[in-house]
Subunit: 350 residues, 2 copies
């Protein structure tokens, strides 16, 4: 069944407000979630809604959080998310970064004491209308094993970079630093399909194509081996060691049924965002003209297969967005059942 974005948006707002969030914050959180569904990143959209509510009910996420700046310089700030959702604190951090970039060329904000921030692209793309380059990243619950380890030490720690263009679509790379995101693994589990070598390892650290390895105590593997481990680790450090959040194996689990470890070294999970004014480096018209040229040249790269085009990062998501704005959003049946149960529980209508 298909839902209009307005209907999902309105439902998310009602859920958040019913659970005690202010109207303004509820609208923002709903916007971040629905953008994920519009861009085709179904694992990070309304599918997560009931998870946020369970975190709040458990007292682990504060829907009344008022994030506050704990330290700043002209180009940096550290934000305490006040145990709220990253859906709220990350856009707030981007606003701060954008204001700093207006003043001194760039702005960088590290966020601690936060929870899940939805899709990284929402935050990075906030920079685009300001003719700025946007950057966002977050750490996440440990699922990924470092090279030569069998222990889960890192999250899928995504990183997003968004670049404005002129007439072409913006270039938006938004990627987990593991070979496969957990969502893709879940899809393979549901379909009872094997996964490619390199996605997971067994709990003994052996290669595997079994989509259930993660449930059985195995781990996800970092992108392309040890380089992905280094990249995921850098995201962890920028997001958490720099901000004062928890890092590595101490990042609290997203699922409410798992408790955080004792003796945590930091507060909540961490994010890191940035904005760079294009015209702090060169005239923005020049930058945009060359971005358009870059995109057109890469689209024209000689194809391996005439029928398979070369894509620009963010192009598939942009197409999904246009199509779903027009045609609506088809929810996975299990997600729909989950949202209907949430609606019933809160005496709302999906």
């Amino acid at each position: 069944m298909k839902f209009t974005q307005e209907r999902l948006f309105s439902f998310c707002i009602q859920v958040f407000e019913t659970c005690g969030m202010s109207k303004e914050d509820a609208k923002l959180a709903a916007e971040v979630l629905v953008l994920a569904d519009l861009r085709g990143i179904d694992s990070h959209g309304v599918a997560r809604l009931s998870g946020y509510v369970r975190l709040a009910n458990k007292g682990r996420a504060n829907f009344n959080a008022k994030p506050f700046i704990v330290h700043q310089t002209p180009s940096t700030a550290t934000l305490d998310a006040n145990q709220g959702l990253g859906l709220i604190s990350a856009p707030m951090a981007m606003h701060i970064a954008i204001e700093k970039a207006k003043n001194v060329g760039t702005g960088w904000v590290a966020i601690k004491n936060s929870n899940h921030f939805g899709i990284a692209a929402y935050h990075a793309m906030m920079a685009l209308p300001h003719d700025m380059i946007g950057i966002s990243m977050t750490n996440a619950s440990p699922l990924v094993a470092p090279t030569h380890a069998k222990e889960r030490m890192l999250g899928t720690n995504p990183i997003c970079l968004a670049f404005p263009s002129g007439n072409e679509i913006p270039f938006v790379v938004d990627m987990a630093t593991s070979n496969a995101a957990n969502g893709k693994l879940e899809i393979a589990q549901r379909l009872n399909k094997q996964v490619p070598l390199g996605w997971v390892q067994t709990k003994e650290g052996k290669e595997s194509t079994n989509a259930n390895e993660l449930k059985d105590g195995g781990a996800l593997l970092p992108l392309g081996g040890h380089k992905g481990y280094g990249l995921a680790a850098a995201v962890d450090i920028l997001s958490a060691v720099l901000s004062g959040a928890n890092y590595g194996p101490w990042v609290p689990p997203f699922v409410a049924f798992l408790d955080p470890l004792p003796n945590l070294p930091g507060e909540g999970i961490g994010h890191f965002v940035g904005a760079m004014r294009v015209d702090a480096f060169r005239p923005k018209e020049d930058f945009k003209a060359h971005m358009d040229n870059w995109i057109k040249r890469f689209k024209a790269a000689e194809r391996i297969d005439d029928n398979t085009e070369v894509l620009i990062p963010g192009e598939l998501e942009h197409r999904a967005y246009l199509q779903r704005i027009a045609d609506g959003i088809e929810l996975n049946p299990q997600v729909q059942i989950d949202l209907e149960a949430l609606a019933a529980q809160l005496k709302l209508v999906l």
Copy 2:
């Protein structure tokens, strides 16, 4: 045969000075090159020396270059490398970034009209003694095919992030955004060995384990597939579209026997560097204590094989450094022959 670092350093200085470089620039360029050999990145050290000289002789690299700032804001600058080596302009850009970070928390410098900058780690690690996080990246001659393309459109575009620690070694991730660096492929060629699937494709875009594919018109493949393509592309854009250098397939070849394409969209190759003051986010003692904790926890991760330790990014390079400072640097025989020929040509002694 083993060489002391002093001997290689002194030889590099003599070569650069003989070819018209100032003493000060020659010392800096030599330091960048020899650090690569000390850290075990043999492909980026003195092995490149004769290549720089050939670029200068061809008029493509200017050993008398005086880089200059073309635009700046309190946290950013764009540097014109004046067609000099990145070995000179990238450290200069890092100095500028570090000064800006002292003033406003962070500093970011895009560099155009440059040439090869050696190992990325030299530049990023300049931030460490200042208790700053260092970042460096560069684009490079096209060898890597975007996903679904058979055409070489991107360089191995490395990225480095260096984080200061307290008592532990610094965390330094320095990685090409391709699955394999070109240097590793050359080693396999010399030994006539096959390479793992995923390193290269044929000129028709088919999977291959033949180390000679690149010579035969094939291409290197991006790290972990389409994500590595996105990452390499982001490095290309930050290094060149932002600075005004050449990007994508237009990046001039490092080797002097290949001419740049006609109608270039920019000037030379491009780099991007940054420095972030740790205490622009949190007290530096706290950051360093948690970095040490991060490193110790990851070193203690449960191993797959008891005899194979979990490494911290930069740990192998740090060990190579200590060992080679003590024991000297063993040059590859072909590199030694190449340097002896260069010495003879310039009437110097290796």
